[in-house]
Amino acid sequence: METCPRSNNETCPRPTRGDAFVVGNIGDARTLIPILASDSPSSYIVALVFSGLVKYDTNVELTGDLAESWDIEDEGLAIVFHLRKNVRWHDGHPFTAEDVKFTYEKLIDPAVPTPYGGDFKMIDRLEIPDAFTVKVIYKEPFSPGLTSWHMPIMPKHLLENESFVTTKFARAPVGTGPYKFKRWKSGERIDLVANEDYFEHAPYIDRYIYRVIPDQATLFLELETEGIDLMSLEPIQFKKLTDTRFFKKRFKKFKYPFFGYTYMAYNLKDEKFKDKRVRQALNYAVNKQELIEGVLFGLGRISAGQFVPESWAYNEDVKPYPFDPEKAKTVLAECGWQDTDGDDWIDKDGKNFEFTILTNQGNDMRLKTAEIIQRRLKDIGIKVDIRVLEWAVFINEFVDKKRFEAIMMGWGLGREPDCFDIFHSSKTGPGEFNFVSYSNPELDALLVAGRRTFDKEKRKQIYHKVQKILYDDQPYMFLYVPDSLVAVHSRFENVKPSAIGIGYNFIDWWVPKAKQRYRY
């Protein structure tokens, strides 16, 4: 199944078992109940301990996980999953369709504080004709529904009589994934061991240790002293600190695309930003490449709309605006923004063009981005203030209540291109995600169609249009897509980055006997 990395002449070394893999991260997990885990540390562990019905392959296509296959029926109104047989929970109990049904029921249970209920509310009912078949019937055709079934499935026999708020399961989970939970020392480490009975094959690396080191600099020192085998690097670390011979001998660095982008959103209810030509002009005035150099040390790409280049929905024909401050000035002048009073700030109806960018505290990159934009807009006569706010205040008092002119934020995306919640004109209520109050009937229609269509080619067409319209309308100034950067200890073989990251084939990683560090 795996391909040998060496050339054909050499004999391919056989993977050996053993050793441990130590991951360092600044945060501890919060809960290991899959449908409650919303932070990234929890998600790492959940992904190793549990399995969903479907998962992505390296081509960003959905493939079976706990489900062997599926059929779309009734013109997209129903999905029938055919489950793997002979899959057992880590405690030996067999996995069946009952577990899928149980998981679904919990996802829509109002007493369970899960953040993932949304997509499952589109389901009309879920039937289990037999122990290994699950039939999901939607209220109307809903193409993102299939992706939503990557949701890890939970064991009914252990959880049916438990309260999700108090259960011990949250700190001692039992799943069907490649690693079994062993122990959790809060704030310190989480230990997993290889699941010998994993349905694909037993992982080669015996133990997975998740270490909590709550300080980015200390974390890096631990990496340098080989106290951990993997960590996500910051751009500066990737570029500058890992250039030593010492480091290169011990670690391999990987760079792969991140599914998400950073943007500056305008409040479209604001008079200044109502005219799309103004927004386009601002886009001309900001040098995105400079942002990438300055903020990301070159480790990122210019964003050209809602989708990242790796997504199948990405439209190659949408080109980012070039950096052209002169053009920006011309366009603004056409819209009536000119410096009439000689104070170096452009004005209209006696008022200078000035606005404030709000961003949240604790994210340096966003702040630096805002600072560079501030300088570029000054060059064309726009006065920008920056205000950094504590996260909860930022969201509650300003974003939710739409009390802002512009904000600097980022979206992390799934592989499913559906962005109904973000841009559809019906999603502008308080606390909903179309906080810029964007409304374009043409786009609304496309977003609805995208959700109802299952044919990938047709969807592609739809989302290409979506991207084009969005980039043209500029409800956001789309800025950049950062790269994901990691360092992995060089003793691990078979580490192959792909469009979906590097962790997807973790069960195939292995360490030659002679290089193994942890032997007991």
Partner: protein, 267 residues
């Protein structure tokens, strides 16, 4: 020896104040000016203390950092002193119920480790220069209140105070003419030490990312940013640390000297 130490402290403080006041004149660069091409340059003639990872001139940032350190130190402890002296002298002079209510309140406040209390408040109101000053002020008046109260308790039984009362003096006359002038010494000493403490506190908070927020340069957050380049940019770590050390040292020396001057017995 003692006097020399105190003099050293005074000179350093004066230099710091000058640096802070004239920071915009001395600094060659805008402390927030980002120049990626010049990132992480070691100290040179162009950049006396080198540049940080965004190519900002460290010397300029340090200069402006001294403004923040001194402002926070002095304003915060000034606030604490005003609250402390007011509450402490009321408690000490009037005694009785007022005294026990005020001092019990101070006792309760003193039960909380200062850093914990400050962190908790920051969790609520969010970090900013203004908030840090107010929070440090509001959580560090207790020592001074106790000091001035203790002073007033002994001073008010001094014979000259009794005489003054027999001569018909009012409470106000006694407090302002006798008690405060004679009792303010320890508060002054405590103020100077307090400034040192507040500067350390601010640096610590900023170092944790809960103090002064970037791009405002504080020695603590320069150090926090420097932490990320520990292996390759020693100057980003060295200078802010030294600056904090020297400043705190200077205030401590001054405090120690003042204490000796006001209390000749421990010479």
């Amino acid at each position: 020896m003692k006097n020399k130490l105190m003099l050293t402290g005074v000179i350093i403080i004066i230099l710091l104040i000058l640096a802070a006041v004239f920071a915009p004149k001395i600094a060659k660069y805008d402390p927030t000016y980002i120049n990626i091409k010049e990132a992480l340059l070691p100290p040179s003639e162009e950049h006396l203390m080198g540049t940080d990872m965004l190519g900002r001139d460290l010397f300029s940032r340090m200069l402006f950092g001294s403004r923040i350190a001194l402002t926070i130190g002095i304003v915060a402890v000034g606030l604490a002193a005003v609250i402390g002296v007011a509450l402490g002298s009321i408690a000490g002079y009037f005694g009785g119920k007022i005294d026990s209510v005020i001092m019990r309140f101070a006792d309760i406040m003193l039960c909380f480790p200062a850093f914990f209390l400050i962190l908790a408040v920051i969790a609520v109101v969010g970090p900013s220069i203004f908030n840090i000053m107010i929070i440090i002020g509001l959580t560090s008046w207790m020592g001074m209140a106790r000091l001035i109260r203790a002073e007033i308790l002994t001073l008010k039984t001094r014979d000259y105070v009794l005489c003054s009362r027999v001569l018909g003096a009012s409470n106000f006359f006694i407090i302002t003419k006798h008690l405060i002038p004679n009792g303010i010494g320890p508060v002054l000493v405590s103020f100077v030490f307090g400034v040192a403490g507040a500067i350390l506190m601010e640096a610590g908070l900023s170092f944790l990312g809960l103090g002064v927020q970037p791009p405002d340069p504080s020695w603590g957050n320069i150090l926090m940013e420097g932490k990320a380049v520990l292996g390759v940019g020693w100057w980003v770590i060295l200078f802010p640390g030294l600056a904090i050390l020297i400043t705190v040292l200077a205030f401590n020396l001054l405090g120690e000297g003042l204490r000796d001057a006001l209390n000749p017995r421990i010479k």
